[in-house]
Symmetry: C2
Subunit: 195 residues, 2 copies
């Protein structure tokens, strides 16, 4: 069958990256095999090395894709609540601590889903750099929603809010099915949205 149009080949390339972003977030980088990954993208495993140099190479691309996908979201929320930073923050936090977010890591925040992989020695190079850039982007996004309260050291507040949200989501996922899972999400929401 092989050989598809240039357009199709490009689409396939993107499909592999998108599938990788989803699967890596859901099962971890080491939890996904290349054959499974390519199947999810609608191809066979042999096509892989025509698109990427190695699995690590794809991991970096998938990371960047996942972060880019969410990058626009912060601006979007801010824009929709034009001026009302408080409302923007409220919507963001509510969405982040929603049960649907906890239950769908494949579609959710890459900061929470990829942190563990990024911390492993085997991925410390480009993956960690991409992760740090994505985290910084999220911090900037939250920074743009703060300001409606205490003034100085806004960046520290944003960093703490992000850490709190990520920590709560990670813990909620790890305890899913038990009451403490929802408790953590609720406590985080309250801590951030209460002056």
């Amino acid at each position: 069958m092989p050989r598809v149009s240039k357009k199709q080949a490009e689409a396939n390339h993107g499909a592999v990256i998108a599938a990788a972003a989803r699967l890596f977030k859901a099962r971890g980088i080491n939890g996904v095999s290349l054959p499974a990954l390519m199947a999810e993208a609608g191809l066979t495993h042999g096509a892989f090395y025509g698109h990427f140099k190695s699995k690590d190479d794809l991991a970096v691309a998938a990371c960047e894709h996942a972060f880019a996908e969410k990058g626009a979201l912060y601006d979007d929320i801010c824009t929709r609540h034009q001026g009302d930073k408080r409302a923007a923050l409220s919507e963001f936090v509510d969405r982040y601590t929603a049960k649907t977010h906890r239950d769908q890591p494949a579609l959710g925040c890459p900061v929470a889903a990829l942190a563990d992989d990024a911390s492993r020695e085997e991925f410390k190079g480009p993956v960690r750099k991409a992760f740090a850039a994505g985290l910084e982007n999220m911090v900037q996004g939250v920074l743009g929603m703060l300001g409606g309260r205490g003034r100085g050291k806004l960046r520290d507040d944003a960093l703490a809010d992000v850490a709190l949200l990520v920590g709560a989501l990670v813990l909620a996922r790890a305890t899913k099915g038990q009451p403490i899972s929802e408790e953590v999400l609720h406590a985080a929401r309250k801590a951030i949205l209460t002056d």
Copy 2:
């Protein structure tokens, strides 16, 4: 060579669990092979199934061991700062957000190190239950150090503080080597220790 004393066999059993706790925290459950694990415990791979039913079985034991090991720590800190809850919390938070803690996951908090594994579908059974118990224990520990401030809803405060600490540690590990890593740790410490 085989057949060792009953005492030795029991010690070996414990050594395997301890090695598993260390390695699982450092590299993730799927990142450690049984041969490597047994070698770390000073045995060969063949001895494994004399001690455990399966790798999952060991994962549960290792989880429980890791949590039990840290369980005493909360009480210890509280006892040493007898009465002064504020000082106890301060020491705990300082230790948790220390760079040495970030750099040694094998010796550190199992809540932060095992959350990702616990959230995976493949481990949702007994591992997740053990994790939830360990998390609850940490929350109780922090609860015992609060009280020196706002009254109502102390449990929510403890949950949020734990989520913040865990989130900060996870993010700091994922960005190790870049400036934001230390920033997150510092922001978390400040957020908790500032009324």
